[in-house]
Point group: C2
Chain length 343, copies 2
DNA sequence: ACCATTATTGACAGCGCTACCATCGGATTG
DNA sequence: CAATCCGATGGTAGCGCTGTCAATAATGGT
């Protein structure tokens, strides 16, 4: 029975209303605000919807209501597995809700970001999730003019456009370096790739922690604007060794680099952690499996994605969080690669 | 000047038409089929669009035209970095086109896939990209009823719904095993996680290659339905060693497992490749960086994403490829982990 | 020069839904 | 019991765009 109607062509809301014996507008309300209907009508509409296999026409809905049920997500990279985790959280949270996700990729270009935001504005999204806090002035203006909830993710800062969920990269790096220093290492190198704003803040944390111990030395720092890669970790480490042969520890801005360093050490017969400590960032799954296991800073990427969507949806539906900035923190995962005397 | 109009509110096509001195429908045609306009009108409309900062209302367009410019992409996982690469290709190809991507995640459930396809049907996408060739009968029926170009990706098979781009997982695994056997290894184990259809076909390739050499032994096979992970690679390898202590090689269905095996070998002081050969699948970036470097089967994931989108867009616009099935092949990347006597 | 044919253009009528406001009955109040 | 209010429901009028088809201008062939 269902089948026949479905096949015969489109079922409109009018048909549903007719079958349920209500006006189209009442049937419409069934979807947008079911609580406003009396129980009897609600049931009749519901069964009519089921019987006819009605599927709302989203375009018509958007046109008539001047709203969409799309949440835009702007991230800088699809390659970086960090964002894969965030996206998993985003999609997990959006499933089951009425909202769908529209993804856009800036490739780490703030101009591209501006362009994408302009595109999004034309689509009138119900909410928006953007990465980081370093938007251009124009981008911020667009965001503020959009008149929809916005969540900035990955890091937190002082002047949210609207809401934020993230953590302090500075603090995380500072904590990692403090741990290294506590273990007795003095000459800790810094390896950085793709120096985006968040990586830059990790560097600041490194620098300040080292300076606080009067151990900062520019020769210990090797960075590149190239995108990160395991191979690159080995290469940067080789550069670092050339500049500062006496290093006894390396802080890598991400785990790929750290793995590359570990492999390079194996190649050069450098004993980890005896001759060299290695600390990474993000705590990807392989860090615990490596031999020796690699210390890292765990970041709650999946939760970031989940919360970002939840916060946006809540705000869309009028339930604004009392705390617009959510700090998800980080955990220092101390493992063999930085504990020469055991953990 | 642009600014004032933009800010003042919505600019509709009517306004553009008025400024250009043409009828609204002519202005509309400027977007859908500019070649149908005379040069003078085209130029007038174009400059009016620019001057007013006109942005089309997609909802109205979709409602009036009964079409959208959305390409649906259905993949089984966001975690698996294999799909991250595919998605990169997908997004790269779609940028610059008029089409936008709508992503959906089945979590390896063909029932979820069915549900998602039903959702997509309601949205009338312009094209669709789905993963694999193992859809349910119902899913196939939906796909066929959708009346839009469909590309199946990741693998190829005999009865495409419409188009296909992928490679033979069977052949790839067969080639990998042939290489291992050529190197003189006899007892090659098989490690498999998340035995989805494509992984199953890799197993078939392994099994047949081993059988052809009269070396197949069920004790050499360890699989699990758990999702893949580096740690899991180590665990599965431990199981395998327990079942068959005399193995001299391991074929892993993906690179994460292979890396886990390598680490486990380091832990157990098993020399690779002298005591054990390791071969992975996909050729993620770290495989070349590992010590020893790890042999793998390179699959062209980024290109798969790119081609899938290109093929779908071409088909939407009436340029159907003469060859609906595109085999992107694979490359065996022979490295230290499987060449005891040097490469 | 005339007619057939093709390139351009425009008028009209919706697409399917919801915003807005009006209505109506019943509960609440003094 | 009238006045008031509120919750539930319906009528009307578009949202901004494009499909369809008719009208017109331009072109070419004889």
């Amino acid at each position: 029975m269902v089948r026949k109607q479905t096949r015969s062509g489109k079922v409109r809301l009018t048909e549903v209303a007719k079958l349920a014996g209500v006006s189209p507008i009442t049937a419409s309300r069934f979807f947008r605000n079911p609580d406003a209907l009396s129980l009897s009508k609600r049931e009749r509409v519901e069964s009519a919807v089921k019987e006819l296999g009605y599927v709302p026409n989203l375009a018509a809905r958007a046109l008539a209501s001047h709203r969409t049920e799309v949440i835009g997500v702007v991230i800088p990279s699809l390659t970086n597995s960090v964002f894969a985790d965030v996206l998993r959280g985003v999609y997990d949270s959006s499933e089951g809700s009425r909202y769908s996700i529209q993804l856009a990729n800036t490739r780490y270009s703030i101009l591209q970001e501006e362009r994408l935001l302009r595109l999004f504005r034309a689509q009138k999204p119900a909410g928006l999730i953007v990465t980081g806090i370093n938007q251009t002035a124009e981008s911020r203006a667009i965001l503020e003019s959009m008149n929809c909830p916005v969540t900035q993710i990955m890091e937190i800062g002082d002047s949210p456009v609207d809401m934020m969920v993230g953590f302090s990269h500075y603090d995380a790096a500072f904590a990692a370096i403090s741990h290294i220093l506590e273990q007795g290492y003095r000459r800790t190198g810094f390896l950085g790739a793709r120096m985006d704003p968040r990586v830059q803040r990790r560097f600041d944390g490194y620098r300040d922690a080292m300076k606080a111990a009067f151990l900062f030395d520019p020769n210990l720092v090797v960075t590149t604007s190239m995108p990160t890669a395991v191979t690159l970790g080995g290469a940067l480490f080789a550069d670092l060794l050339a500049k500062a042969p006496d290093i006894d520890a390396v802080f890598c801005v991400n785990d790929d680099l750290a793995l590359g360093v570990l492999f390079e050490c194996q190649r050069r017969q450098i004993s980890v952690p005896r001759d060299l400590a290695i600390v990474g960032f993000n705590d990807l799954e392989f860090m615990a499996a490596a031999v020796p296991s690699l210390t890292s800073v765990r970041t709650n990427r999946y939760e970031m994605g989940r919360h970002a969507v939840t916060m946006v949806i809540d705000a869309i539906e009028g339930r604004r969080p009392e705390q617009p900035v959510l700090d998800l923190g980080f955990q220092l995962m101390v493992r063999e690669s930085s504990t020469p005397h055991g953990a």
